[in-house]
């Protein structure tokens, strides 16, 4: 068996940025960590859970709660860490902005994993702007070693300067692996809780004093940052000076190894003295940064300098060495011998056997659709279902459905339901449902309960009966919770039972009262099949009607005049294609597979 990482206390190992953050948390004495999963941050808490038993770690119902519980632990003098994707920080913004005033007793590191290029996100927000608005320290690692080191630096800064620290990662840092020198864990005693009303109750008379301290703290940190090794000048050819941070630094080193570089590791507050020194040292300046011109705008407005940046580097999307090379050294790109070939795209799809498929197939068949949410089931918007029409943020499916009904009335709203996963419902859907009951809405909310937070790779949540470390925990009862909100019509249905699923939609959408449908079947990642079973087509019976293609199952492709069912992809305990075939041309042995 592979050794747990907490048994390794020296050497150099290949770690992803996320694994390196987990390692840093362990080495630098973090006592407690909490997070809600979100790509690209999820593996931080997963790794802590799997490898580092010395850290008390847990999944929180959402990012706001995750930040609040670590804040409490910090108040009691524990070193703490919370991790979230960039949009998770929006959810946690309320505690963040005031925690900035209150400060840290035990060190607080909050990881924001931004997603330039939107590999797995609904927007491209740059949380350096968020950290600056919250007046907290921002650290930006450029590889896994720095990710680990900056957890340690961050905890120390947090305690020394009485401030939360935002560790701003990006997808390319989180999910790239590079070598990390590792060390042993430093055990740091928890100081213990001591009440301090003036420090932790920001009534206006206290908060005004707190704000003064925050401004003073930022000035002190800027001066400190100019001396810290977090920010550094790499002196080279002084005819070109590049100011950069994060992953962009690596691209700059790749394409412009001869240039002078100001590498910013602490991007809030900025180290003005060091920046001024760099500006005076070089002839021309280029800012190379991903997404927002954060460094560029801040430094240009402070020093009123002429420099290139956003005019040659795109604000949209992820950078790469090619883009940076074209911007910094135009005309020097090497020979590209082979051209891009125009090929069919390969978008993600609901997995074979996915329980969500049954619900979206039925909605589509009924000419109905949904307001959607964040999760695998967002893929219900894809052809052939086209049965999900809005996505805003975690939990919004319910509020959006209510709003449509308020604007149009139930009749004109037509056949729309809200589609939300059980984990997302617990995260921030329940308040929307309370609103629907309270304000007299009549729509149908579908909670797609697959007993797993699936989109992020399969994490436990309060409805699954297990915690982050796989230990048994109380099960949150969705039916009781929905009933307690005041919903009178609650149906639970197996989404693989297509006739029942369809009938339930028909009846609930026709009702002029609020209703909740819980579609319940475990995610295929949570189900280990007892045996292999593949659906078989009888080509003699098949009439080529293509109804099975309406399932959008990746295991079924069209082969000239009949379906071809892949034995590699067909999922054992699913027989939806058998159910939809009008001439019984598809059969499958389902014994022992329910």
């Amino acid at each position: 068996m592979r050794k747990k990482l907490n048994t390794i206390s020296e050497g150099t190992i290949l770690l992803s940025g996320n694994e390196a953050v987990a390692r840093g948390a362990w080495e630098y004495g973090v006592h407690f960590a909490a997070a809600y999963p979100g790509t690209p941050s999820t593996e931080i808490l997963e790794t802590i859970g799997e490898e580092y038993a010395e850290i008390d770690a847990q999944w929180a119902p959402n990012e706001k709660v995750g930040l609040e519980v670590i804040a409490g632990a910090s108040f009691a003098g524990a070193r703490v860490l919370s991790a979230m994707k960039h949009v998770g920080l929006n959810v946690a913004a309320d505690p963040l902005f005031t925690l900035s005033y209150i400060g840290a007793t035990g060190g607080i590191v909050i990881v924001s994993a931004d997603d330039p290029g939107m590999h797995s996100s609904q927007n491209e927000q740059d949380n350096r702007l968020m950290g600056k608005a919250a007046k907290v320290v921002i650290l930006e690692p450029s590889d896994s070693q720095e990710a680990k080191d900056m957890v340690g630096e961050g905890l120390k800064i947090s305690e020394d300067f009485d401030t939360p620290v935002l560790l701003r990662m990006t997808t390319r840092i989180c999910h790239s692996k590079s070598l990390v020198k590792v060390g042993p864990r430093k055990e740091i005693p928890v100081k213990g809780y001591v009440g301090d009303i003036r420090k932790r109750v920001p009534i206006p008379v206290h908060a005004r004093l707190m704000h003064s301290r925050v401004e003073k703290r930022l000035n002190e940190l800027s001066a400190w940052g100019a001396e810290s090794s977090l920010n550094r000048i790499e002196e080279g050819d002084t005819s070109l000076g590049i100011i950069t941070s994060g992953i962009s630094y690596q691209y700059v080193k790749e394409v412009s190894p001869e240039a002078s570089i100001l590498k910013i590791g602490m991007s809030n507050p900025l180290p003005w003295n060091l920046i001024e020194k760099f500006i005076n040292m070089v002839d021309r300046i280029i800012f190379v940064e991903e997404n927002e011109p954060y460094l560029e705008d801040s430094i240009k407005s402070k020093f009123l300098i002429e420099a290139d940046g956003q005019n040659i580097i795109p604000i949209e999307g992820e950078l790469n060495p090619e883009i940076v090379r074209k911007a910094v050294h135009p005309g020097t790109t090497g020979e590209i011998k082979f051209i891009d070939i125009d090929l069919p795209s390969r978008p993600p799809a609901l997995c074979p056997g996915c329980p969500h498929r049954g619900a979206f197939y039925c909605l589509s068949k009924l000419g109905a659709s949904s307001t959607g949410d964040i999760g695998c089931y967002t893929l219900g918007m894809m052809p052939p279902h086209n049965a999900l029409e809005t996505t805003v943020c975690m939990g919004a499916s319910i509020g959006v459905l209510s709003g449509i009904e308020k604007a149009t009335g139930r009749e004109e709203m037509g056949k729309l339901v809200a589609a939300i996963g059980e984990s997302t419902f617990v995260h921030s859907g329940i308040t929307g449902l309370i609103d629907m009951v309270y304000n007299g809405n009549t729509g149908t909310v579908m909670i797609m309960d697959n007993s797993l937070t699936a989109m992020t790779g399969g994490q436990e949540n309060p409805t699954t009966g297990k915690n982050l470390r796989g230990q048994v925990s109380p099960v949150l009862d969705l039916e009781q919770m929905v009933a307690a909100c005041g919903v009178r019509n609650i149906r639970v249905v197996d989404p693989h039972d297509l006739p029942e699923m369809e009938k339930t939609f028909r009846e609930e959408m026709a009702r002029d009262e609020l209703s909740v449908i819980i579609t319940r079947r475990p995610c295929i990642m949570a189900y280990k099949p007892e045996k292999i079973s593949v659906a078989k087509l009888d080509p003699e019976k098949c009439i080529g009607c293509k109804i099975c293609m309406n399932l959008g199952c990746p295991a079924i492709s069209w082969d000239v005049d009949k379906p071809d069912i892949s034995s590699l992809l067909c999922w054992p305990n699913c027989n939806m294609c058998v159910q939809v075939c009008p001439v019984d041309a598809i059969s499958k042995d389902m014994e022992g597979l329910e």
Partner: protein
């Protein structure tokens, strides 16, 4: 010798791309290199295109391979190989599994699966197609396709056989080790 080797491993979700790139990284480390690799998780894995960039050499900065600079593209699915062919360096080699997996866009009729062999010919692409699925089936384990392919590209890379085998031993569970080592050797025989 060139100071940096650039490799892209690509295919579709669930084909063992991440394991293959882990093995490559471990082998490159045993050979004494600095190593970086990069891939994207999450939405990309629900049957979509997946790719892993691996770079090794004396000192590596960028974790991603620049267009026109890959020494090797290893594709677990042939159309995915074509998708990354513009990343090949002028001297680069594309090795692809002779396997077709239809994307949903083809299943739903909004696109057609291309004639891969015709495109290879038309664009004069340096492609070697490997019947890795058949070889894995002969070995009695369809899951070792990725390791057959690693074997098939192993002699294109500046890593000796001993380091490859050490890497496989570290990354593959004990009970599947023998069949994986066999898969690697079968693949390596093809690379001649």
């Amino acid at each position: 010798m060139k100071s940096v080797t650039n490799v892209i491993i690509c295919g579709t979700g669930g084909q063992g791309i991440l394991l293959a790139s882990e093995v490559l990284c471990a082998a490159a480390r045993h050979a004494g290199n600095d190593v970086k690799k990069s891939e994207v998780h999450g939405m990309a894995q629900r049957g979509g295109s997946v790719s892993s960039h691996v770079r090794f050499g004396e000192k590596i900065y960028s974790p991603i391979v620049e267009k026109g600079s890959a020494d090797l593209v290893l594709a677990m699915e042939k159309m995915e190989g074509l998708r990354w062919s513009s990343y090949l360096a002028p001297h680069g080699q594309l090795v692809a599994c002779d396997l077709k997996i239809n994307p949903m866009t083809v299943n739903t009729g909004s696109a057609e699966y291309p004639d891969v062999e015709a495109i290879i010919k038309k664009e004069s692409l340096p492609v070697k197609l490997i019947p890795a699925v058949e070889i894995a089936d002969e070995l009695g384990n369809p899951r070792v396709v990725n390791v057959v392919l690693l074997g098939a590209v192993s002699s294109h890379l500046p890593i000796v056989e001993k380091h490859w085998e050490m890497a496989i031993k570290e990354r593959v569970p004990q009970k599947a080790l023998e069949v994986n080592l066999e898969a690697f050797r079968k693949g390596r025989e093809l690379s001649g």
